[in-house]
């Protein structure tokens, strides 16, 4: 990267670097996708193939499965860079740390949440959801999964200094993302029951706007604690 690289170039550079790393190790992203599909398919096996019941609980199932799948790769946002020391280097770039964190979070979302969102319609059709409901589910995941990455990045930063594993990260993050789950799955359910989705989408959007602004600062603070 040239010395005169502007902030935006570095920002894009961090995103493309992380995406390239994700591409080189496709198995991680693929594992999350397969996990998503497997968890969603296990529910009918556990509950029984009753069509109406499955249709009713499909939004919740798909949302929870997406949440757990996104959780799988969460610790990788920072941990590998932290272990090999490149996080120290990245923290020293001209770009403020919160923006670096945001770039890495965006890359994480593209390689996990976005992919999950893209395959969700196929799984939703398996549950016999009507096309328009599938659309609502798709949109709710599109709005909600970035939130999972953003809030998750705080936990990923906090657990850097710990000897805990991914379990600890899940324990920390799952309570924090419960509103996302409630509104995300709630949007689809309220659409199914004939109520509007506007309120749920507005709240998800408001949370996304808030998290886009606040979460990078919190994650950057957590990384600084780990790096010092």
């Amino acid at each position: 990267m040239s010395q005169s690289a502007s902030g935006f170039t570095i920002f894009l550079g961090v995103i493309t670097r992380d995406l390239r790393l994700a591409l080189r190790r496709k198995s991680d992203s693929l594992a999350a996708l397969i996990f998503f599909a497997v968890v969603a398919s296990l529910f009918p096996l556990g509950i029984g193939p009753e069509q109406n019941l499955l249709m009713q609980i499909a939004p919740g199932i798909l949302w929870i499965a997406a949440l757990l799948a996104a959780m799988l790769s969460l610790h990788k946002i920072f941990s590998e860079d932290f272990i090999d020391g490149s996080l120290d280097q990245i923290a020293l770039t001209a770009l403020p740390l919160p923006l670096v964190v945001l770039a890495k979070t965006i890359a994480h979302w593209i390689s996990s949440g976005l992919l999950l969102t893209l395959i969700s319609p196929i799984l939703a059709l398996q549950f016999n959801l009507p096309i328009d409901t599938v659309g609502v589910l798709f949109l709710s995941l599109l709005l909600g999964t970035p939130l999972l990455s953003l809030i998750g990045s705080i936990g990923a930063g906090l657990t850097l200094a710990s000897r805990g594993s991914g379990t600890l990260l899940a324990l920390i993050i799952l309570p924090l993302v419960s509103p996302v789950l409630i509104f995300g799955a709630g949007a689809v359910e309220s659409y199914q029951s004939g109520l509007g989705v506007a309120a749920h989408f507005s709240l998800l959007g408001a949370m996304l706007a808030l998290a886009l602004f606040l979460a990078p600062f919190a994650s950057a603070a957590s990384i600084r604690i780990a790096l010092e």
């Binding site: 600890l168 309570p175 409630i182 709240l203 606040l214 603070a221």
Partner: protein, 245 residues
């Protein structure tokens, strides 16, 4: 020396706070015990039987104080954690850590007594109601705080990381509360409300408020006691600790 010209920052030093806490604990313990006795006598003896719920409502004298404390302690804990994080004040971080187990216990008591109360009145131990669910999430937040702290070797890093988590959790508490309300309107679950409060008999309210203060005293005493232990543990290399022990 009157209380007014006391230098409060003096007690920010763990050593001095250790002494102060030591002399304060007996007061909180004694007043806690006295208030508990008065509160229970009023609650279990004097307060009238509820015309709808019979005597089963009497668990309110434990349930409501515990539920209030569970939320209050989280806020106080996050406050001290933030002070510890921002001003790098060791004592504030220790106070936050001392409060967390008590907060978790209060949350657990609130959930448990709620279940015990729910069985005779609603006929079920648990309902996925807004209040219950948000209280459960609160318990998980306490667990997260404690386990994150426990998982980081370096005490200062542990303090700071856990503090950050506590602060993030605070932002989340009202979100959980309101979101779950939205969620609940769809599910139409049985709802608990505090609308009974104004119609409550005076003795009931008095007994409950006295119990709230008793719980305050207990929580302060236990937190101070735990904080003293933390101070001893973290300052174990200091000379004054060897003198004290």
């Amino acid at each position: 020396m009157s209380l007014l010209n006391l230098n409060w920052f003096k007690f920010a030093a763990p050593q001095r706070f250790y002494g102060l806490a030591g002399s304060l604990i007996p007061w909180f313990v004694v007043s806690g015990v006295i208030l508990t006795i008065i509160g229970l006598v009023i609650g279990l003896g004097i307060a009238p039987t509820d015309h709808q719920q019979g005597d089963s409502y009497r668990i309110i004298f434990i349930h409501v104080p515990a539920a209030w404390m569970s939320m209050l302690i989280y806020l106080v804990m996050a406050f001290w954690a933030a002070i510890g994080l921002i001003f790098n004040a060791r004592l504030a971080s220790m106070l936050a850590l001392s409060l967390a187990p008590t907060g978790a216990i209060m949350t657990f008591i609130a959930l448990w007594t709620g279940a015990v109360w729910g069985k005779p009145t609603w006929g079920t131990w648990w309902v996925w109601d807004a209040r219950l669910t948000s209280e459960l999430v609160l318990l998980f937040l306490y667990f997260g705080f404690l386990s994150l702290h426990a998982s980081i070797e370096d005490v200062r890093k542990a303090d700071r990381s856990a503090a950050l988590l506590a602060i993030v959790g605070v932002i989340n508490v009202p979100i959980i509360y309101f979101s779950v309300k939205w969620w609940n309107t769809l599910h139409q679950g049985a709802s608990v409300s505090l609308t009974k409060a104004p119609t409550m008999a005076t003795q009931m309210l008095t007994g409950m408020l006295i119990m709230v203060f008793a719980f305050w005293m207990y929580s302060i005493a236990v937190a101070l006691y735990r904080c003293r232990n933390l101070i001893l543990d973290r300052e174990r290399h200091a000379d004054w600790v060897k003198e004290v022990l």
